[in-house]
Amino acid sequence: MDLTKAMEISASGMYAQGQRVRVIAENMANADSTAQSAGGAPYERKLITFKSLVDRAQGIETVAVKSITRDTATPFGKKYEPSSPAADKEGYVQTANVNPLIEMTDMHEAQRSYEANLNLITMSKTMIQHAIDLLR
């Protein structure tokens, strides 16, 4: 039945957005994770990408996580902290390349998509209920 398939698709979307929020939470939690030693690398921000997955048996196109990669394009930050064990000769410590503003925006987008999928599940459920109500 098409409507149950619709619910399945929306559920896959919710799962994918949940994974996205998990990655964002990892980034936010490690926003202040600096290098452990002088010359060491701090926490590297993670990126998540999606792909559409064709389920040929059911003839539907769900969504799935394609990959979770490290963000190598954004440069690390620098903080002046000469007393830190991870400080270099000039007294600077390398900080994670996490920008809380970007993460928050990303999180809001994920939340919005999650809600949209949830709304669609509710809608499909109401439609099924209307079809069942024909029996009355």
């Binding site: 039945m1 098409d2 409507l3 398939k5 619709a6 619910m7 698709i9 929306s10 896959s12 979307g13 994918a16 957005q17 996205r20 990408t49 999606f50 792909k51 559409s52 539907i60 196109e61 769900t62 969504v63 987008e109 994920a110 919005r112 998509s113 949209a116 999928n117 709304n119 669609l120 809608m123 499909s124 109401t126 439609m127 209307h130 079809a131 109500d133 024909l134 009355r136």
Partner: protein, 169 residues
């Protein structure tokens, strides 16, 4: 209170009527006279088609929303259901019959009007190539849901009218 014997006779009569009607029905899909089959009534048939079209559309819209953040994804939609063609009487998809176990099954064509097409002129496309506009899709989904409700309500009303005529209410 109706005597049970009479009920049995009536049921038997109805069964005979329906089975004979089925036997005389034209194989080529002309108007059948089976009174118990609601889908043979044009109105009910149209409503059934509309309902299946709406649920197919809901599935397509769910796909669009689920893939709202997939790079390169283009939204899809169904062709609008044409009542003019429906009234003319569309032929349901015909599957080839297998008369020998060595035959390949082949594929059954999709029901008319439930094939989804990529949208040719999306409102906006992001840098990643995704062209899904959440607001548009949600509006379409809302419309689909309310149309579904309308059609089921109509179905219910028609059915209760028939029941009223039968005197079962």
């Amino acid at each position: 209170m109706i005597p049970p014997a009479l009920v049995r006779m009536t049921i038997k009569g109805a069964l005979i009527v329906t089975s004979s009607a089925r036997n005389t029905a034209d194989r080529h899909g002309a108007i059948a006279v089976d009174p118990m089959d609601l889908s043979k009534l044009p109105l009910f048939d149209m409503m059934q088609r509309k309902l299946s079209w709406l649920s197919a559309r809901q599935q397509v819209l769910s796909q669009n929303i689920a893939n709202a953040d997939t790079p390169g994804y283009k939204p899809r939609d169904l062709k609008p259901l044409d009542f003019k063609n429906m009234a003319k009487g569309q032929i349901d998809p015909v599957a080839p019959t297998v008369t020998n176990p060595m035959h390949l099954v082949g594929f059954t064509p999709e029901a008319p009007g439930t094939k989804s097409d990529k949208e040719k002129h999306p409102l906006e496309t992001t840098i990643s190539g995704n062209a899904v506009t959440m607001e548009e899709e949600l509006m379409k989904a809302n419309r689909t849901a309310s149309d579904f409700e309308l059609t089921t309500n109509l179905y219910h009303k028609q059915l209760s009218m028939i029941k009223e005529a039968l005197g079962h209410n």
